[in-house]
């Protein structure tokens, strides 16, 4: 078997909300049921799972994906506990299928019932003794990277605002987005929003919301018998610089994180950036979108915001980016958020996106994390031929 004989056959995205009255385990199960129904499969068809265990009710010694065997009432041939989900889970699942450990893998996760009001989300406050006392929440780590970039390329601030306004406006038009109907936005709206941590205002930064997301992965051979056009894995790459959110990210080291992973993924796929029709980048903030254009080889160093503006990243642009509204306006569900990127990429490649459909989309990028997190991963997905 080859990499491109691994197919995503089901996607499930629960309602995405600012605050849910369900818990993380419930939304993960909701998403799993939606993805299996979408795939035309029963839960008894699953023999591998990458879902960690959002609890409650996990095994005392080591809660993890194995706990799902009890909840789903099925034996499993393979489990994976990747952190985060999204691309690392997809690569794990592909490995499990390619080595014969499983035939049909469920990836599901999300968060619900965990966000409080008024302060930054708990999962954005690293508990480390050399981080927490200084108030360095996750957006601050990204901000310390951004400040060095803007010292070198001050004009990028305006481009960041344009990027955030574009993606948030796209999200505003998506009725399923957490921020549906809140736009449209201008770059000036972004610049004028309340500051959170310089250079970022509230509108430069992603949401913290609640919901679940899941995908089902199997072989292309099986996928041919299922309801939707199969979407296959063309290539993938991952990088981990160091432990996230402890030692602060250094601009010179992390600005191009993803470049090595992208070269690997494009080489596996036998294509280049110009072949990509839609980019589901990991938009934790406005500058990260520009950074990924640079790191992934769409443009040169320092050209990310200019590239975004010249190319057009809205639905009417040449490279529609974060077409569901992204983490900025659709939803960010913690460790499950990267799976939302896979879900939107698959829906675009199937042609299911309605008003936000990218015409004729054949190749999509889905990505996870970024410079301040000090790890990055991406997958190239394509319509099966």
């Amino acid at each position: 078997m080859r990499l491109d004989e691994i197919a995503i056959v089901g996607v499930g995205v629960t309602p995405q909300l600012k605050r849910s009255d369900r818990n993380s385990l419930q939304v993960a199960l909701d998403a799993a049921k939606l993805a299996l129904a979408d795939a035309g499969l029963a839960h008894t068809d699953v023999d591998g799972i990458a879902a960690r265990w959002p609890g409650p009710g996990g095994t005392v010694l080591a809660p993890g994906s194995a706990d799902w065997s009890t909840l789903l009432g099925i034996p499993l041939g393979w489990i994976g506990d990747s952190y985060p989900q999204g691309i690392p889970a997809l690569v794990d699942a592909a490995g499990a299928i390619l080595t014969g450990q499983a035939t049909t893998v469920l990836i599901t996760g999300g968060q619900a019932g965990v966000l409080g009001g008024g302060r930054v989300a708990a999962y954005t406050q690293p508990g480390n003794e050399f981080v927490e006392p200084f108030g360095a929440f996750t957006a601050a780590h990204f901000a310390l990277v951004a400040q060095r970039h803007l010292a070198r390329y001050p004009h990028a601030r305006q481009g960041m605002a344009e990027i955030a306004a574009t993606i948030r406006t796209v999200g505003s038009a998506n009725p399923d987005a957490v921020m549906a109907g809140r736009g449209p936005y201008t770059a000036q709206d972004v610049l004028d929003a309340p500051p959170v941590v310089d250079p970022f205002t509230l509108l430069d930064l992603c949401l913290a919301s609640e919901g679940g997301a899941a995908v089902v992965v199997t072989t292309l051979e099986r996928a041919r018998d299922l309801p939707h056009p199969p979407v296959v894995l063309l290539g993938a790459g991952m990088e981990w610089m160091r432990q996230q959110y402890v030692d602060p990210a250094r601009y010179e080291q992390v600005w191009d994180i993803g470049a090595v992973a992208a070269r690997k993924a494009f080489a596996q796929a036998g294509i280049g950036p110009s072949d990509v029709d839609t980019a589901q980048l990991y938009d934790v903030n406005s500058l990260e979108v520009a950074r990924q254009f640079e790191a992934l080889g769409f443009c040169g160093p320092g050209e990310g915001t200019d590239f975004a503006l010249a190319t057009g990243i809205g639905l009417d642009g040449k490279l529609p980016t974060c077409t569901d509204g992204g983490l900025l306006a659709f939803s960010h569900i913690g460790w499950g958020a990267p799976t939302l990127k896979l879900a939107e990429a698959v829906r675009q490649l199937r042609g299911q996106c309605g008003d936000r459909q990218v015409a004729g989309a054949e190749v999509a990028i889905a990505a996870g994390a970024g410079s301040g997190a000090q790890y990055y991963n991406l997958a190239l997905l394509g319509r099966a031929r």
Partner: protein, 137 residues
């Protein structure tokens, strides 16, 4: 979801000496006795040569700002905003996150601005912070 403190807390005895020194308003950092490297955050072995033969040594507390920002939204109760947060590269070749305090007009120090250690207190704990020298040479 519970977090296993045995996995996420510091190794026993690893950082006690750092905080004890901070309590005396002395800044220290791990120095490898085999390869001479200064490193931070403290680890059970030197990230350069993996030797466990390292010890805390005093720092001059002088360095330069690598990056700096202003935090406007309190990360948790107890933080008064706005406050300034930076990454400081110490002269001995190590770096750390810390609050930036004082300085000329309370401004945000520029990248590469020289700073020296000073001390603040939060929740009864003495924390290192850095301030611009305010002297141009």
């Amino acid at each position: 979801m519970g977090v296993d403190a045995a996995l996420t807390g510091p190794a026993a005895g690893l950082t006690d000496a750092f905080w004890a020194a901070a309590g005396r308003r002395e800044l220290v950092r791990p120095v490898c006795r085999d390869c001479g490297r200064s490193f931070f955050t403290p680890q059970i072995a030197c990230p350069g040569c993996l030797s466990e033969n390292w010890a805390y040594e005093p720092s001059t507390g002088r360095g330069r700002v690598y990056s700096a920002t202003v935090v406007h939204k309190p990360p948790s109760p107890g933080f008064v905003v706005p406050f300034r947060l930076g990454i400081v590269d110490l002269d001995e070749g190590w770096s750390m996150l810390a609050e930036l305090v004082g300085g000329p007009d309370g401004r945000l120090p520029a990248i590469d601005a020289p700073v020296r250690v000073t001390w603040t207190e939060r929740d009864g704990r003495v924390l290192p912070a850095f301030t611009e020298d305010g002297v141009t040479s």
